[in-house]
């Protein structure tokens, strides 16, 4: 355990030292992964599948606010959809605009979670992003999660209906639209949205509770809720979800979420203390949980004399001895 904590400390130190570059690099890699994912699962448009264009877009995203990743991903998905036909492109663009207006507009800082959620659902780790969002205590991001499920469904539908659409005439708009939208708005969409939102909300509420090992319990409860709601929803609505894949994916998501929660925050519950303080109006029942140390030794405040001698003083002391108070007093009296 100590080794992991030391690794965490090194990682934190490294990030603290190079945070400016690390942030840009993380954004670049996230953007590149998202754009390459869109390219790999669609690839209907030569322009929007061009790797150099995607690299340039990822570079641009790395210096823009994080919301740009979701925006550019949406443009790429819409662009790829136009490769299947004008009608499909129009429907996909309309759905993305509706998602933006109704959900993502209110939470621009969490919109990247929508793209990550879409990727998570695609790769079978549908519970991962809800667990992480819940642990990060961002309840508003449940709307991003729902948007992510819809984006994944859009991409899936584009892939699933591609051959059927190619059999129809390009001008047979009513048939093409009915086929595409019929495949798009399936019961599985609702089940996925509800399961992801409920899992994130449960994790958020339990993580706030503050009891012993609440983060771990919250993650486990979120994963269980996700599996149960998916199973119940798909059986009731006949969504036909592969439950084994959902269970395995949720278990893997739980492990990843626990590792991430350990990296963000690790507490030493054994040394937690409870005490009561009061003022004129209230009693305050406080529970203090110390952060886990790498060597297990308790934190000791340095002695006043132990302060490093070579440290420069934080405050420049005014050179009071240099001021001629007598002459300044005389000057001020003259003004009077």
């Amino acid at each position: 355990m100590n080794t992991i904590r030391e690794f965490k400390k090194k990682l934190t130190d490294f990030y603290g030292r190079y945070s400016a570059y690390a942030d840009i690099l993380i954004k670049f890699l996230t953007a590149l992964c998202a754009y390459l994912w869109v390219r790999s699962v669609t690839g209907y448009s030569a322009v929007f599948s061009n790797i150099f264009i995607l690299l340039v877009l990822a570079l641009v995203s790395s210096v823009l606010p994080s919301g740009s990743i979701a925006l550019i991903s949406g443009i790429l998905v819409a662009g790829q959809a136009f490769g299947l036909g004008l009608d499909v492109g129009g429907v996909v663009t309309a759905v993305l605009v509706i998602l933006f207006i109704l959900f993502l507009r209110f939470i621009p800082e969490d919109s990247t979670a929508a793209v990550l959620m879409a990727m998570g659902v695609w790769f079978g780790f549908g519970a991962l992003v809800p667990l992480v969002c819940g642990l990060r205590k961002r309840l508003a991001s449940v709307f991003s999660l729902a948007s992510g499920v819809v984006i994944c469904q859009l991409v899936r539908t584009m892939g699933a209906t591609r051959e059927s659409l190619s059999l129809l005439e390009a001008t047979a708009y009513p048939d093409r639209l009915k086929l595409f939208m019929g495949a798009m708005f399936r019961p599985g969409l609702v089940v996925g949205c509800v399961a992801a939102m409920a899992a994130a909300a449960v994790v958020y509420l339990l993580a706030l509770a503050g009891f012993r090992y609440c983060l771990e319990t919250a993650s486990a409860a979120g994963a269980v809720i996700y599996v149960v709601l998916t199973a119940v929803g798909s059986s009731v609505l006949g969504a036909g979800t592969d439950l084994t894949a959902v269970i395995v994916g949720s278990a893997a998501s739980l492990v990843v979420a626990l590792i991430l929660s350990f990296l963000w925050i690790s507490l030493d519950y054994k040394k937690s203390e409870k005490f009561r303080i009061e003022d004129d109006e209230y009693y305050y029942y406080v529970k203090a949980i110390p952060k886990a140390k790498t060597d297990g030794a308790p934190y000791e405040a340095p002695e006043p004399g132990e302060a490093a001698a070579d440290e420069a003083p934080l405050v420049e002391r005014p050179e009071v001895d240099d001021i001629d108070f007598e002459s300044r007093l005389e000057e001020s009296l003259k003004n009077l």
């Binding site: 429907v91 605009v97 109704l102 507009r105 639209l177 420049e316 050179e319 240099d322």
Partner: protein, 142 residues
Amino acid sequence: MINTFRLLKMIRLSRYEEGEGGEDLRVCGYYRSDYIGLQLIGTAVLTTVAFGLIAALAVLYDIEGFLDIIGDLDLTAVITLAVVVYAFLMAAYLIITYAIASLRHRRARKSVRGYERELKELKLLGRRTSSIRPARRSRRRD
């Protein structure tokens, strides 16, 4: 000599302005009522667009069936239903927008108040330093 305390304060303020504080400062550039009003107008326009798109998608899903039954439809009932759904959607989003905008403005005010306090401290710090300098110079002249 570099005043480390002042320098650290300036760095902190600059980071705030370029980071999360930029948005807060922009929000605080408006009066509360103006900011909320602008947000509500934006929401009204965008919700109308979203409603139009949802209605268009609903019609496009089965446009042939829709065209078949449009002659037999009770237009008054359809329009009433559309207006009720639109009003419900609009009311819901206006309430959400009002709540979010007022919360954002309150948080931004709180955050900017701290920023302004630090800015005042920085100015005072600069004034103190500059008030000391003339005395030093006059002494040297003597």
